[in-house]
């Protein structure tokens, strides 16, 4: 009988020692871990996790936008900001404004008490300097200034004389802006972080990034100033020269750079950061500490759509388009593929501060079948195979297949999907128009309902739907000369007309999720993620208790 060979003790040890250590780590405590106490120096400092590389340059935008916006709007202050409750513009660096009679010239009066972080007064020349820098750059971001007269031509180099561009500093505190056409939402557009002023000394500081060595060298006009900069993030202190210094309740803000967004919730649970925005939606795990946290949601101002080429065969019949819109199972599909992140769209504009979204569409398969039959295609018989044009990136998107499956299941309508590189897809759609439906999305850059609806003012040549309605054009143009509730009512009329004709089917809105520590107070919903941190404050951990929306 052969004796059973035995492992040497050191072989067993070599296997068991690391194995045991690993087991200790892998099966170690994962709940009820102690929260790192807030350092005394950070007693009133808000700490925000961010993944992307932030630049303290307001004229360079980085994505995702949340942390970038929070960072820039803490250091810099544009002329206006949006009211958290109504979304309407309110004074920031500007004290007031006035439109000319023809609503093409806007005169902004700046605050005389506005100061840079070194005590210099903020003047209209600083805004012109900053905007000129933006126009002279080769960034697409310059298009935020294109509503100004000759701004686009100057940016493209077609115009050399800057004085012809519709912006001029009348004096130190008066800025005259001339538009190429009426644009009533323009004041709200001035809240864009890109439209911040620029101190003359900053050009060199930005170029050599000397703010890493000497943070005080970066001169800003926002509620906070740069106190420290490193590869691990930025520290900001409340600026003593800020005009509303008394209303800024935070002592500072720290932007903590994290390796990836997935680890950020863990850092928040550990007490290292206070805000994770946006939070990954796949995140549904239990946090390992008992730190009170809360989730804050906000709809992004954009919409995912299925655009219908109304010039193609049966798609010119509004009953067919309505049938296609009614047959989609938005609730089922969004719950299945991205619960919480995507929500069904029943109209073109999502809910936003100051305006609730309308419910103009619904799911009704029976009505969809009836409409299709009335159009001459009972059960989809005789209906041509639809060609759906999609960008290549949509190959991994489960939704297009789900929508077309709904059409087949409910209406018997078949769809052939063609994927192209985005640039080629746009070119083919424009030149050949060989498509029936197209899958895409529209995003707003202005916190205004009219911005999303302006897609229906595009010329037929560039419109994916090839649908133009004079009544809608007239309403949108009228809204451009209106303000307040009157404008909102006009926009609603236009939206109702559009949704009745269904040249495009809104399918989903995107929801952003923010994870906040219980100590964070004053957070508000902003569809463009431009929350101003000067409005937030912290309470002590003892004052926080898990509320109904808290998540542990």
């Amino acid at each position: 009988m052969t004796p059973t060979p035995r492992a040497h003790w050191w072989t067993s040890l070599a296997l068991l020692l690391p194995g045991g250590l690993l087991a200790l780590v892998f099966f170690g405590p994962q709940e009820g871990l102690p929260v790192v106490p807030r350092p005394p120096a950070d007693a009133n400092v808000l700490r925000i996790a961010h993944v992307q590389y932030l630049l303290p340059d307001p004229h360079r935008q980085t994505a995702p936008v949340s942390a970038h916006n929070h960072f820039i709007l803490s250091l810099w202050e544009p002329l206006v900001e949006c009211d958290p409750a109504t979304g309407r513009p309110q004074p920031a660096a500007a004290a007031s404004w006035a439109w000319s009679e023809d609503r093409k010239v806007l005169t902004m009066k700046l605050r005389p008490d506005a100061r840079w972080s070194n005590g210099d007064p903020v003047t209209a020349h600083d805004f012109v300097r900053g905007w000129l820098q933006l126009l002279q750059g080769d960034l697409e971001d310059a298009q935020v200034l294109f509503p100004l007269k000759n701004a686009e031509a100057y940016h493209r180099g077609e115009l050399k004389d800057f004085r012809a561009v519709g912006m001029r500093a009348i004096d130190d505190f008066t800025l005259r802006l001339e538009l190429s056409q009426i644009r009533s939402a323009f004041v709200a557009e001035l809240a864009d972080p890109l439209l911040s002023p620029f101190h003359p000394s900053n050009a060199k500081v930005m170029a050599d990034k000397s703010y890493f060595r000497d943070p005080g060298a970066l001169i800003t006009n926002g509620p906070f100033r740069l106190a420290d900069a490193s590869q691990d993030g930025f520290s900001l202190q409340a600026c003593g020269f800020y005009h509303d210094r008394a209303d800024v309740r935070l002592a500072g803000v720290r932007f903590v750079r994290v390796g990836n967004l997935s680890i950020a919730p863990l850092l928040l649970a550990a007490g290292v950061v206070d805000i994770v925005s946006p939070m990954p939606y796949e995140e549904s795990r239990t946090l390992p500490t008992n730190r009170p946290v809360k989730l804050a949601h906000e709809l992004i101002l954009g919409v995912s759509t299925i655009d219908i080429n109304v010039t193609r065969g049966p798609l010119s019949d509004v009953r067919v388009r309505q049938a296609l819109a009614l047959a989609l199972h938005r609730q089922e599909n969004t719950a299945k593929f991205s619960p919480g992140r995507m929500v069904p769209a029943w109209s073109w504009i999502p809910s936003m501060p100051g305006r609730r979204g309308l419910k103009l569409l619904k799911e009704d398969a029976d009505e969809a079948r009836r409409l299709l039959a009335a159009a001459g295609f009972p059960g989809g018989k005789g209906f041509p195979v639809l060609t759906m044009s999609l960008p290549m990136w949509a190959e991994m998107d489960p939704y297009p297949a789900a929508w077309t499956e709904d059409w087949f299941r409910e209406l018997g309508v078949r769809t052939h999907m063609t994927y192209e590189q985005p640039a080629l897809q746009r070119k083919l759609m424009k030149d050949q128009e060989d498509y029936d439906v197209a899958y895409g999305a529209v995003m707003a850059t202005v916190p205004d309902a009219g911005d999303l609806l302006s897609a229906f003012l595009w010329p037929v040549q560039v419109s994916k739907t090839k649908w133009v309605n004079p009544d809608v054009v007239s309403l949108l143009n009228r809204a451009n000369s209106q303000t307040g509730n009157e404008r909102l009512a006009t926009l609603e009329q236009a939206e109702r007309l559009i949704m009745a004709a269904v040249p495009t089917v809104p399918v989903m809105f995107t929801r952003r999720q923010n994870l906040l520590a219980g100590e964070v107070q004053g957070w508000y919903e902003d569809p463009l993620a431009r929350q101003s941190l000067k409005r937030l404050w912290l309470v002590s951990a003892e004052q926080t208790a898990p509320g109904p929306e808290s998540r542990q």
Binding site: P5, L15, P18, D232, I263, L266
Partner: protein, 381 residues
């Protein structure tokens, strides 16, 4: 004269020491580079961050440089532990899991340090990594592929060694066969020796003249049997002791006729030894030697005794004659071709486990003795 160790006799590329030295030097350089790069962070320089050190930025796969020797050493040890596959597979599976765990842990450690996460959160972070898809099972795959490759190499080397051994055995078998043939030929030659043959034929003639035809027929039949068996023996390398004794009995039948009543043959064989296997025609040269140099040389000599006994795992065969003692120079053992052949066959078959001794047996006679392993089973081919 210096001693030479086993390792030093290996070719350079198969000696682990130069490789280990190379690995050690590489590790030292790597470590120095990493420390030099991370020094500002280790010293707490304000602008320095772990995130921008090579400790954090270099691909985690670099860990293989450190783990490879350990994995090789363990693979070798595990292979030696037991060749039964379930146990081996289980151990290698454990190793694969451990290595994957080490990689995952290192990734989590880097992430924790880079993001200033307290170490108490390491278990939570490791499990979070699973959610994030940060558990890479590639290290396990690499380890198993490495082990597979090493096993393949090992089996190939064993196969090559087996091939070499088979060839050597073939040569040895051929040599052994040659010896057997020579032994058969020796026996045949002895039978056909003119002196033996003439004496036998004279004896047969005498028997016929005395009208002892029945006995004459027996001798002729015995001689024929003797020649036939000599030829038959060329086919088999081993025979039982009993078969060997039957052959010798034919021989003695003829020799008794020749020596009349003078030759007395005694057999002292333990019954349990009759089934013992011995090399074919092993006793024949000893008996022939006893007849030629013992009984024939001394008219007073008459006794030839064959003995066989078992001593534990050994078989003792002996052939005694009461003839004259061995010559002083012991030429008999050195020069007798038959005995030389027997010695070589014993060495080839049994190595150091068998031996042949030839010595005087006071007060009279000479005793030849063969000691070999006792076995009753025919060896498999």
């Amino acid at each position: 004269m210096s001693q030479v160790s086993g390792n030093d006799r290996l070719p350079l590329w198969r000696n682990w020491r130069p490789w280990f030295s190379l690995w050690l030097a590489g590790s030292a350089i790597l470590l120095a580079l990493l420390l030099w790069d991370a020094w500002p962070w280790l010293r707490g320089t304000p602008q320095a961050t772990f995130r921008h050190t090579k400790l954090n930025q270099w691909p985690i796969e670099g860990l293989w440089w450190l783990l490879a020797p350990v994995a090789l050493w363990l693979q070798k040890n595990l292979t030696m532990v037991d060749r039964r596959w379930p146990w081996t597979v289980a151990l290698h599976g454990l190793m694969a899991v451990t290595i994957t765990g080490i990689f995952t842990l290192l990734a989590a450690l880097r992430m924790a340090v880079a993001n200033h996460l307290p170490m108490s959160f390491l278990p939570a972070l490791v499990n979070d990594l699973r959610w994030m898809g940060g558990w890479s099972y590639t290290p396990a795959l690499i380890y198993l592929l490495l082990v597979f490759a090493l096993y393949a190499l090992s089996f190939y080397q064993e196969w090559r060694a087996g091939q070499r051994l088979t060839n050597e055995l073939k040569v040895a078998n051929a040599q052994l066969e040659t010896r057997l043939v020579r032994a058969s030929l020796d026996a045949l030659k002895m039978q056909l020796h003119p002196h033996f043959l003439f004496n036998t034929l004279n004896s047969i003639t005498g028997l016929i003249r005395k009208e002892r035809t029945r006995e004459a027929e027996d001798v002729v039949a015995g001689l024929g049997e003797l020649l036939r068996r000599s030829l038959e023996h060329r086919q088999e390398a081993m025979e039982t002791l009993e078969e060997g004794l039957v052959f010798l009995r034919r021989y003695f039948d003829i020799e008794c006729l020749r020596f009349q009543d003078r030759l007395k043959v005694e057999c002292d064989i333990e019954p349990k030894c009759l089934r013992a296997l011995v090399p074919s025609l092993m006793l024949q040269p000893l008996v022939e030697n006893a007849m030629k140099h013992g009984i024939s040389k001394d008219p007073a000599a008459r006794l030839l005794r064959i003995g066989a006994m078992r001593d534990g795992s050994r078989l003792l065969l002996s052939v005694y004659n009461d003839g004259p003692p061995l010559p002083k120079d012991d030429l008999t053992l050195n020069q007798g071709i038959g005995l030389q052949n027997t010695i070589i066959r014993l060495r080839m078959l049994y190595g150091d486990e068998a031996r042949l001794q030839l010595r005087d047996q006071p007060p009279h006679g000479v005793r030849a003795e063969i000691i070999l392993p006792f076995s009753t089973n025919f060896p498999t081919s």
